[in-house]
Amino acid sequence: MTGLLQDIRYGLRQLRKSPGFTAVAIVSLGLGIGANTAIFTLINQLVLKSLPVRDPQHLVSFGKAVDGGEVDGIGPGPLDIFPYDFYKQIERTHDPFLEISASGSFPVTVSVRNRPKDAARQALTQLVSGTFFQVLGVEAALGRTILPDDADAPGRNPVAVVSYRYWEEKLEADRSVIGRVITINGTSFTVIGVAPPPFFGAELNEQEPDMWLPITMQQQVTLQPSLLNPHGLFWVHMMGRLKEGTTPNQGKAWATQQLQRFMVTREGGTISDKRRREIGQMYIDMLPGGRGVSHLREQFSRPLYILMGVVVLVLAIACANLANFLLAKAAAREREISTRLAIGAGRWRLVRQILTEALLLSLLGSVAGLTLALVGTRMLVYFVVQGAKNSALTPNPDLTVLAFTLAVSVATGALFGIAPAWRASQMRVVTALHSARTATGSGIRSSRMLPNLLIAAQVALSLVLLVGAGLFLRTLQNLRNQNLGFNRRNLLLVDFNAKLGGYKSEQLRGLYDRLLNGIRTLPGVRSASISGTQPISPGSWTSPIFVQGYTPAPNENIMTFLNRVSPSYLDTVGIPVLQGRSIGREDTPTSMKAVLINQSVAKHFFPHGDAIGHQFTIADPSVPGVWRIVGIVGDAKYGPLRDEQKRMIYLPLEQLTADDHFAYSIQVRAEGDPKNIESEIRTALAEVDPDLPLLKVRTISQEVDSFVENERLISQLANFFSLIALSLACIGLYGVLTYNVVKRTNEIGIRMALGARTEGILWMVLRESLLLLAAGIAVGIPATIGVARIVRSQLFGLSSFDAATFMTAIGAIAIVILIAAYLPARRAAKVDPMVALRYE
């Protein structure tokens, strides 16, 4: 113990002795460890951490539960979204499970008045079954949770459990809140409980719910037709708690059997053999549910693992640097070490001494790293949750993260300390003691081998990082710059919700006219339109279409996306009409039902180019009748930017009725930067109706950017870290070459005394760095190709062996390496032979 304390004391003294080196080491390690900690914090939160519930390891999720919304027409394969009546059916028997719970697959934004005279405010709610809290094993912090009796019949029990945060922030942490009546979308609900502080539900998404409401209150909460009726749409997620001794596979078999039976019953007695076979291929995966379900996990796991790989490489480069610096320091301490050996120090003791110094450095680095990680994680979380204020994701490190940082710190210290420690343990006492008498003993090639190998490794790792970063950057550019099929200049998008504003279907025509007139009369506005969904956002409205005279092949996909648009939509958005006409004022509720199709629909159903005038019906019963094609418009990109063009049909808003007459999006084409007229537009809309909820206002560029979040995250961080890596490699090479030159001063002096010219000496040092560069590139290229193959699926519009990216990366490394090498080379060329020959 005394020896260890002595080692620590001596190590600290060594660090104090070289403050410059210590500072560079701590900053390098801080960056490396900090980046690792930041990324790991997010991975821990998204991927590793369990829900704050009882025995989370016994929870299972019925499928991935990442798809949301309401869908119909489920085909063979795994299911992760179910109809409510299926839940009711299996909840009654729930054989292998203690309990099964259901929750709405989408959060519902509602308008809430916490007191009758309070202003309405928006809140995020989650519809849950009466078993939800029981399955999770969560007790209320105040009052009680929703129980099965609260969700036993549609519309009967308007009760609410609010989140602890909502209770603190919006209900003034009032302990007498239990029993208070609040108004949600016009319906009175009684607050029956406050959830415990860490609880955020079973879903880890951008924003945690403000309250949980019985699923049986769906109609009052969503202001939509009931989704609870038998043969309803698929819209709930399910979780279960397995009975003791039951395996997930047993659960899967039971649930799959129940599902297939349910589907056969649901589709009635006239079910075809083909459909029966399809139902036979349906199944429910029973996945671990202890970490909750999260679409963020699905979305960001892969980017985060890629970034983890990136920051591990950065840390490896920092380690190589420090190993080199410590090797140099150990070499400079040869006489001290040999003296210690000569007076009886054991080799293990010397190894321990050097490792102690390395560990001290890495621990100091980890302190700096934790500080940097706090800032970095905050930025990452902000990015992942898109600035949402109430997210269950927190940037604060927990014990797991701290343990990770400590482990990384120790591993790092051991990694960069092992080489100098090994070198010291191999030292021959007599040689070292006499090293000063040999003219060039300290510059011999073998002693430079390890540092040179480390530099070559850094070059190789930097190449991997730079090429990776370059590929991601070009992917991002390709995604952003591709032709989206509409005009992206000066377009502002506004989301609103007339339903939440209390409008009925018959009031909408007047509202739309007033809104558009209010906007169009503003200076700086060129045109405005209204639609169901925004350009590039595909929405969730899909349906098969049945074109008259067209017989689909067996299993042919005839699904098409649908959008409802006002007459000026195509003109405002800038989608060209290729044939026929656009939707116009003449398309009224009483006129012929007119429809526009995009090129993809035309190519699929009308390969001979004769689409105009043809008619089709839409399977969705809410848009009945026969629709005549009056125009073909250009393909515009909808949905993920990597996807192929989608089939899209545009229906006149005027010709739709009831729920389909609701539109949620306004598009404004401005003369100049649309940001400049944003406040005027808000004012104009408020003048039409101050209570009309405006959900989101953004430019089309921001909207497009929201589709490349993953790519932006990877690209920006990969580029940032690769530049750090390159800087570290540059510092490392500069340090090693400078040290080599100092060690070789005597040799250089001899060479100059024997006739070497300054250019020759300059070249000698530069050649060494070029050899290291060549070796690093030679090793780096196959390694980079290997890594590029791994990330191939993340690229877009370029090959993983993109020559331009490889050449640019190699060029960048070469330039940096030559700059790093030039200074020591110039120093070598300026060696005074007379001084050098005395340099012993």
Partner: protein, 235 residues
């Protein structure tokens, strides 16, 4: 061969100008074997470095075979030295990561001599110094005497007319020293002009002329008995 006229070398120190060579006037004839002696700090090595053109920060005149070295540019001086001067050092200054053969080849590699010709010259030199068997060994595998032998071989491989040796036997025991001095004598007899710095009277005996230095002044020269004692000159 060489004429030094009022050669002076000094360093600036916080205490003022510090002279290591004072008004050195010296004439060295072709074929001489000169020994420079004197106590430590007398300026012996400084004089040798000036002669070797390793140092060019001196004042005065330096004539080498009628060429005014003092008027030459640094590069011209370096070229002159490369062609005409060989150096032998007390601590050998062999490059540890080069073999004996590579060390000997080093001066030739700086002279744009074709590789084949260099190979022949190296082979001749190895043979002449009887170190063929050691050609692939590294300096650390040789004794001190053998290392200095390689040092001398390296210094003379390009057949310089002037060989300068700074305490060439300082790190050797007497029998090894004797071998090296015999070698010098042989080289001198073959026509090489030699200037050595030594403390050893025995080594000095191999030479034909002894120059004594003290505090940077030449105080005696066996070839110039008329030389005034330095005290008188100083006054």
């Amino acid at each position: 061969m060489i004429q030094l006229k009022n050669l002076e070398r000094s360093y600036k120190t916080p205490a003022g100008q510090f002279f290591v060579l004072r008004r050195v006037n010296l004439e060295i004839q072709q074929g001489e074997f000169i020994t420079i002696m004197g106590p430590s700090g007398a300026g012996k090595s400084s004089l040798l470095n000036a002669l070797a053109l390793l140092d060019d920060a001196w004042d005065g005149e330096y004539w080498f075979r009628e060429q005014a070295v003092h008027k030459m540019k640094r590069k011209e001086r370096a070229d002159l030295a490369k062609k005409n001067v060989g150096m032998v050092f007390q601590s050998y200054h062999l490059l540890d990561d080069l073999t004996v053969r590579e060390n000997i080849d080093l001066p030739l590699s700086y002279k744009d001599i074709p590789h084949k010709l260099r190979q022949g010259m190296v082979a001749d030199t190895l043979d002449r110094f009887q170190i063929v068997a050691k050609k692939d060994l590294f300096p650390s595998q040789l004794s001190g005497g053998q290392q200095q032998l390689v040092g001398v071989a390296r210094a003379v491989i390009h057949k310089p007319p002037l060989l300068l040796a700074d305490e060439p036997t300082g790190n050797l025991h007497s029998s090894q020293a004797k071998e090296i001095m015999e070698l010098f004598r042989e080289l001198n007899q073959q026509g090489t002009t030699i200037v050595q710095v030594t403390h050893s009277e025995a080594n000095a005996a191999y030479g034909s002329r002894v120059i004594q230095l003290r505090d940077g002044w030449v105080v005696s020269d066996t070839a110039n008995p008329e030389l005034q004692p330095y005290e008188a000159v100083k006054q």
